[in-house]
């Protein structure tokens, strides 16, 4: 401001000069990038219209009582207070979901890593195997697979037929509260394809000469894995762990199909998202369900932040 006042008459002010330059740069930037933004437009519309917008509306709704037929009524913190103090189903659903996360993520990642290492050994027809192993992940989220799983683990299903060959009489895995959650864990482990592909890419990045040097020094295969593969793979493990944890928290379809939307028997498959769905669309409590959704957002954020904070103690970046 003070600069401009000292400018002699007739001369262009610093601001105007800078403004003109900036404007020109903007226009040039725009000219250069307009096609890009044009191509981005569908995504932008989708992001603001279908993701950010609804998310903000749900944040507002979480402070209301909304049955979808009448307009929402402001209730302040009441929904959150009920979740925290007077909702036994919330804790039941949390329990089931945490069990699922704690069991499914490590098993799935271990399994994915083992398969990736097997596939990494220059197998003939590797691409075919990769495709085959990836297939369950593509199908896994679908309703048909959940139905198939139901058939496999029913009391007279294939699993028990196999067990009976060894004289073991298995229970109805999917309909017994002690086992049902683990059949869902098994279903999730079976869908190991996407972390496996990422592990495979990670394994390819490890320089072969390290292994050669190690074997010349007489290091065993196990020692090579422990001292070379694992440390160099930690960034990939970290990435997979974070992504799979978030996925596990959001799991919905298998529980919905296998329990018929009830979360039964006895809430044993009442995933958090399933409970949220029941409240929203079964009991028409959209406001309460929105509050549940935001609690889930916060929980996932805490888990992810925790992973990032601890990562510097165990994730090694080469450079």
């Amino acid at each position: 401001m003070s600069n401009a006042m000292r400018t002699p008459a007739g001369a262009i002010s610093v601001e105007r000069y800078q403004g003109a330059v900036a404007e020109g740069r903007l226009r040039r930037l725009w000219n250069a990038n307009a096609p890009g933004y044009l191509f981005l437009l569908p995504w932008l519309v989708g992001f603001f219209g279908l993701t950010l917008g609804p998310a903000l509306i749900s944040l507002y709704l979480s402070f209301t009582d909304f049955d979808m037929l009448q307009s929402p009524r402001w209730v302040g913190m009441a929904n959150y207070v009920r979740i925290a103090t007077a909702d036994p189903k919330f804790s039941a659903a949390m329990d089931v979901t945490l069990t699922y996360v704690v069991f499914s993520v490590p098993f799935k990642l271990t399994f994915a890593l083992l398969v990736a290492m097997a596939l990494n050994r220059g197998l003939r027809g590797l691409t075919v195997y990769r495709a085959i192993f990836y297939l369950p992940s593509l199908l896994g989220g679908s309703v048909a697979i959940a139905v198939l799983w139901r058939q496999l683990f029913a009391s007279d299903g294939l699993v028990n037929a196999a067990l009976s060959q060894f004289g073991i009489e298995g229970p109805s895995w999917i309909s017994h509260p002690n086992y049902s959650i683990y059949t869902l864990v098994a279903l999730s482990v079976w869908q190991f394809g996407s972390p496996m592909i990422i592990f495979l890419a990670g394994l390819r990045q490890i320089p072969q000469d390290m292994y050669e040097a190690a074997s010349l020094d007489g290091a065993s295969k196990f020692r090579q894995f422990y001292k070379i593969t694992l440390p160099l793979l930690t960034p990939v493990i970290f990435f997979n762990a974070v992504v799979q944890t978030i996925e596990a928290f959001k799991a919905f379809t298998p529980a919905f199909i296998i329990s018929g939307g009830t979360g039964g028997p006895i809430n044993s498959t009442l995933f958090y998202t399933l409970y949220l769905y029941q409240e929203a669309f079964g009991n028409f409590r959209m406001g309460y369900a929105s509050a549940l959704a935001w609690i889930l957002v916060v929980i996932i954020a805490i888990f992810t932040a925790f992973s990032f904070l601890t990562s510097r103690y165990w994730v090694h970046y080469d450079d």
């Binding site: 049955d67 979808m68 037929l69 009448q70 309703v143 029913a154 009391s155 007279d156 229970p171 109805s172 999917i174 309909s175 017994h176 509260p177 919905f256 329990s259 018929g260 939307g261 009830t262 039964g264 028997p265 006895i266 809430n267 029941q278 929203a280 669309f281 079964g282 009991n283 028409f284």
Partner: protein, 428 residues
Amino acid sequence: MTLRVNRRNFVAGGAALLSLSALGTSALAQEKRLRLLWWGSQPRADRTNKVSQLYQTKNPGTSITGEFLGWGDYWPRLATQVAGRNAPDVIQMDYRYIVQYARRGALAPLESYMPAKLNLDDFDKAQIEGGSVDGHLYGVSLGANSAATVLNTTAFKEAGVDLPTQATTWDEFARMGAEITKAGKRKGMFGIADGSGAEPLFENWLRQRGKALYTADGKIGFGVEDASEWYDMWAKFREAGACVPADIQALDKNDIETNTVSLGKSAAGFAHSNQFVAYQAMNKDKLALTNYMRVKPDSKGGHYRKPSMFFSVSAQSKAIDLAVDYVNFFVKNPEAVLLLDVERGIPESAAMREVVATKLDENGKVALAYVSGLGDLAGKLPPPPPAGAGEGELMLRNIAEQVGFGQLSPADGGKQLVTEITQILARG
């Protein structure tokens, strides 16, 4: 989740869109177009679409598009459409939800159209009342229906056990079930389904004892003692092998396909009379329908004729007159009624009952004979369930499973059920 639109529907929808774009969105086009939404299976959709076509040929210039979903997916869809001001004109409505939708202004009151445009003169009076809320008519009943026991007569015969009659009590029925299980004629088949978590069955049992699920003012209609005794009765059945064990019953997702009778896990199970045709289609053995058992030999039956479903008209509809005319056609036109058969229940109109009775096939006759032969077993229609009834139903089943898997004693189960339902109702 699964939206099923068959090819004919799709073509019809496409045609409607085309004609709409041709006409523009003029008021005239709006008044001649109807959207329908219902839940049910493909056979129901085929029947419904045929009626819509018949209506279009009789009323040139109208176009009717229909969409259908399974029961579980239906209610989320409807609620979303109503909230989005995009409700279909004609809505299939259930007794459980009619109060909720009517009180919130989503449905159009229809009594002003009677009798000129909507002629329900020869309807059962009780069924007209069943579609009324606060003195207004919000739903036209599409058929009568009653809860029923489904029997696999072949399995009964194989085990050498006589079929239950209208006079059979629960104690006798349990003995029959245990005999069938013990006979072991089929691998993995038990006598009867475990009905401890089935709401219609519990309600029937309560009504025989002079109680109810819910009172007219939306309060809980039974006590701890009733609920405990109920769970205890089934615990004894389970112990005696009269009914399937808990992990088999848990396979039942409350639909026809996963009922223990359809799965071949029990010789008897619990259903609704209008589902009989579908049950028989799914089973190679010969099935039969009978009433729920009696609590005591002299106790009154707890049955009632329930409107299987209604047609309601959306309050948001721009073509209410046309919608009312369509609904009237649906329940009063003989040709339409013949197309519909008894798939949605026995017609409420006496004249239409006669029309349909002459053409019924054997399975349809079973359902008709069952509902009209209930006699003193049928009582008054209970008041529409209050908001929260859906949660109450899940709770009955949840606690039944806890008792079934031995995690809870029947006495504690009864206590918990009453506490939970009271809380659910208070929350609304």
